[in-house]
Amino acid sequence: MTWGGVQRDEAELIDAARSGDSDAFGQLVWRYRDSVYTLAVRLVGPDLAPDVAQEALIRAWRAMPRFRGEAALGTWLHRITVNTAWTLRKRASRHDAQQLDEMLIDPSTGPERAGELAEVRAELGSAINQLSPGQRAVLVLRDVYGWSHAEVGRELGITQTTAKVRLHRARKRVRAILGETR
């Protein structure tokens, strides 16, 4: 991404966006839109994910003056996305479980391995879709994104113990579902 022919540093863009520069924020949106959307898909499914990603990025813009850089911008945006998805989960639950299957294919692998991986990911995606919203959020944040139990608990408004128990149940459920399909 260039700005008047010159690559703008992320820190510079953040500073400008914090001061209300919407063009700078636009460049940040361009950089992070895929990662925000990916997390949204994993949390609420592809049907509602565009709404969650859009709302999360708008919330991020409103809150930019608060951003102090204690965490990386990507991490901060992910936290906002989790919160947005969590507050919209009632809307999400009104939708039928969405299938991640065709979307979870790693483009960096060769064609023969890609087919195998796609099958595994499709089964995994389908199993994750069958979890309750709470179990799904904990499993995605902890096992897919590697968040700590403390971070998961803080962002979802639950205790660490609840997060651990929910994760354990989610893993067992996913394994049971995979056991049925494999």
């Binding site: 409103r62 003056p65 096992d143 651990k164």
Partner: protein, 111 residues
Amino acid sequence: MSNVICRLVSMVPADMPLNRVLEAHRDQCPRCQADVARSTGMSRELSAMGGETLRAPEGLATTVMSRLPEQDGSDPRRPLVVRIAVRYSVAAVIGVATVAALMARALSRRE
């Protein structure tokens, strides 16, 4: 009996320590070992998903940019309902305190 212990082992979350009896059982039980291997495999598959990025729909960025409201520095992780409730609760507390002060003043005058 072994079946019961296998179930006990499976009930303990992976990142919580097992007691000595359960640990010894898990280390020599083929069923528990297979269970551990399945869990490890699944964790590996899940964490591999973390490195993947899906392409956002065309127009997402444009839609966001066309809908930007005023920046207000609000906490993005606190839902709107909570923000409204907090705002009104502050007003309610101030109102109750004012009424209480007026009542106390009226009572003290009567005395």
